[in-house]
């Protein structure tokens, strides 16, 4: 079958929204594939359908037409519960607005996905959550609640939460959209490390070209269609970009 070597494979993906009597066509036949270990950015102007596409890739939404294979599994035939299971086992989501539970510690926030995985014991849950937080360098902030953390730290908690279930791919929707450039680079350095060291597949939505420069490939969307699909031969290192930032920026 076509999608076998791909972790993610779409063909003529369509998503139509019925708004009153009008039909909004957010995706009009999107076709592309992602191999394991790729770091893909999706770019495009506002309203081009990036979030809509990512929601379908993340099994939060189902396409109106076309096919989507995740890790070789056709999504359209699955029930709500099956989709929930896929989200829990194979996908890690990182949102622009972090979406951490308020008044809940970093540790408990990170433990959350594991609560919905019956195979994991209380003890293992805690251990893995601590490990994930240490991986995003927040080992010393376990008991802090979101309002006691900076934006960058909150996003790192969210990334730890996306990692804790050991997903095959991480989906991020403008994960650096609310952060200043230094913090954005820190987050991107983290993503690059996850991609290069831990071999995680990453799909990252952004509309900032300098963020896309850290990825290995960029898909450009326009008006619900793939406009361009380019490989990046000159992947920039976020770590270096961070070191090159003038200290004066650090006021």
């Amino acid at each position: 079958m076509a999608g076998e070597k791909y972790i993610l494979h779409t063909e003529h993906l369509e998503r139509h929204f019925q708004v009153g009597i009008e039909v909004v066509k957010a995706l009009k036949g999107v076709t592309f594939s992602v191999e394991p270990g790729e770091f893909l950015t999706i770019m495009g102007s506002s309203g081009s359908g990036k979030t809509t596409l990512l929601n379908i890739l993340g099994c939060l939404d189902k396409p109106t037409g076309g096919t989507y294979l995740l890790d070789g599994v056709e999504i359209s035939g699955l029930s709500r519960n099956d989709l929930a299971r896929l989200r829990n086992h194979k996908i890690g989501f990182v949102f622009q607005s972090y979406n951490l539970l308020p008044r809940t510690t970093a540790l408990e926030n990170v433990e959350l996905p594991l609560l919905y995985n019956a195979e994991i014991s209380t003890h293992e849950r805690k251990e893995r959550a601590i490990k994930a937080l240490e991986a995003v360098k927040l080992g010393d902030r376990l008991d802090h609640t979101p309002n006691q953390l900076s934006g960058g730290q909150q996003q790192r908690v969210a990334i730890a939460r996306a990692l804790v279930n050991e997903p095959v791919m991480i989906l991020a929707d403008e994960a650096t959209g609310n952060l200043d450039s230094r913090t954005s680079y820190e987050i991107m350095a983290l993503f690059q490390e996850l991609n290069q060291v831990d071999k995680k597949t990453i799909v990252f939505v952004t509309h900032e070209p300098d963020i896309a420069a850290f990825s290995s490939r960029t898909v450009f969307l326009r008006d619900g269609k793939v406009l361009k699909d380019t490989f990046n031969n000159d992947i920039k290192s976020a770590r270096e970009a961070l070191d090159n930032l003038p200290p004066a920026d650090d006021y």
């Binding site: 939060l60 519960n81 929930a84 989501f93 008044r103 809940t104 609560l115 919905y116 019956a118 279930n165």
Partner: protein, 408 residues
């Protein structure tokens, strides 16, 4: 998700809004406390009425004369002046009835009892020793008169506690003393044990008991008898016993099939039933009021759960996006609702029991907290939680993850 985790999540969610959780609970607390206290009052008064009635002898059957001539104008005769019952009736019942254990004729008279300087208006009751068995009445001191005392119309008597207190100085031994009742001297041979008030508030200890013939012949000088008391073998055969007595009396009175009874047979059980059906009605009414307040409490839970689901739409969306299934979300909110209602139920039971105790202490009303009312209100509470929590929880579980995440 395991029950333990569900409880943890629900507890955390409630802790985040302690005051609101408590106010929601308040409806349930008041409802349950009301049920417990109301039922306790109802049961308590029922119990005390039953105790009082059975202190009059729970197997007791009373036979009174009655008029079988329909009043065609003119004054109806007072029951006590009717003369349809005789000692022959007593003998006939004694011989033929199979459902009764003892029987006694009775006549009574009001009068003045005098002991030296003391005097006291009271009632003298002329009966046979069987009467004390029927009433299950013991002597505190002395003995009961014998059958010979009855046949010889001996001038002996037993006195009740109230009569003793009013005719003797405290500590005096009444046994062997002579008192006068309507100028006839009676030798006291026994002091009756205390019985207290009966269900009608009469002092049962304000009485002198003497042999039947003594009162009938020496005091009243009549040939008929006023009442007959009998005891059924046990409480379960009182109906058979009354039917039997009626048919015996109809025979001895030679009544035709078309004639009405010229007597009345009443059982204590009937009285108990009348009283308990009134208090039953009271219990039902009180419980209905309490149940309504529980319903209102349940609606309170439902309302808050809806608010909570709306408020936490984003949280629901997030939980779904990281893998929570609909059932996980449903159980999470249901657990919260049940936790509220059960905690409210526990506090309500405690409050209800204390209220019942306080009512007994301060208002002196008898109360009886029954286990069944605790179990019932607890069950109702849990069901309330499940029922009123279910729809908000279902609504939460059916949210679309994307829309929920977008919700502001």
């Amino acid at each position: 998700m395991s029950i333990f985790n569900l409880l943890r999540i629900a507890l955390k969610a409630l802790q985040r809004n302690k005051l609101r959780a408590f106010l929601t609970m308040l409806g349930i607390i008041i409802g349950v406390a009301a049920v417990i206290a109301m039922v306790a009052i109802g049961q308590g008064s029922k119990q005390s009425i039953q105790d009082q009635l059975s202190s009059m002898g729970s197997n007791m059957i009373t036979i009174r004369p009655s008029s079988n001539i329909s009043p065609g104008g003119g004054a109806r005769l007072d029951a006590s002046s009717l003369q349809t019952l005789t000692l022959d009736d007593v003998k006939a019942i004694q011989k033929q009835a199979t459902y009764i254990s003892s029987i006694s004729p009775a006549v009574s008279s009001k009068g003045q009892a005098i002991n030296g300087a003391f005097n006291w208006p009271t009632t003298i009751q002329g009966v046979t020793p069987g009467y004390l068995e029927i009433r299950d009445w013991k002597t505190k001191q002395g003995v009961v008169f014998s059958d010979e005392d009855g046949t010889s119309a001996a001038k002996v008597c037993l006195i009740g506690q109230t009569v003793y207190e009013n005719l003797f100085s405290p500590g005096d031994d009444p046994i062997g003393k002579i008192i006068r009742f309507n100028r006839i001297p009676f030798k006291i041979i026994g002091l009756l044990a205390e019985k207290g008030e009966n269900a009608f508030g009469q002092d049962q200890d304000d009485i002198i008991i003497a042999p039947f013939a003594t009162v009938q012949k020496r005091l009243l000088a009549i040939t008929y008898i006023q009442n007959i008391y009998a005891a059924a073998l046990n409480e379960n055969v009182t109906e058979q016993a009354t039917a039997e007595i009626s048919s015996i009396l109809r025979k001895t009175h030679k009544l035709k099939d078309t004639d009405d009874d010229d007597f009345m047979v009443r059982t204590q059980a009937e009285l108990i039933n009348t009283f308990s059906s009134t208090s039953q009605l009271l219990t039902v009414l009180l419980t209905a009021i309490a149940a309504i307040s529980l319903l209102v409490g349940g609606i309170g839970i439902m309302n808050i759960m809806y608010v909570s689901v709306t408020e936490r739409t984003k949280e629901i969306g997030l939980r779904m996006s990281i893998g929570a299934r609909g059932i996980d979300i449903l159980l999470q909110f249901l657990t919260e609702a049940i936790l509220i209602s059960i905690t409210g139920g526990i506090l309500g039971v405690l409050l209800g029991i204390s209220t019942a105790k306080l009512i007994t202490i301060f208002l002196k009303w008898p109360t009886l907290v029954s286990e069944s009312s605790i179990i019932l209100s607890f069950a109702v509470c849990t069901i309330t939680g499940v029922f009123f929590g279910y729809y908000p929880a279902l609504k939460a579980s059916r949210l679309d993850p994307i829309e929920a995440l977008r919700y502001e």
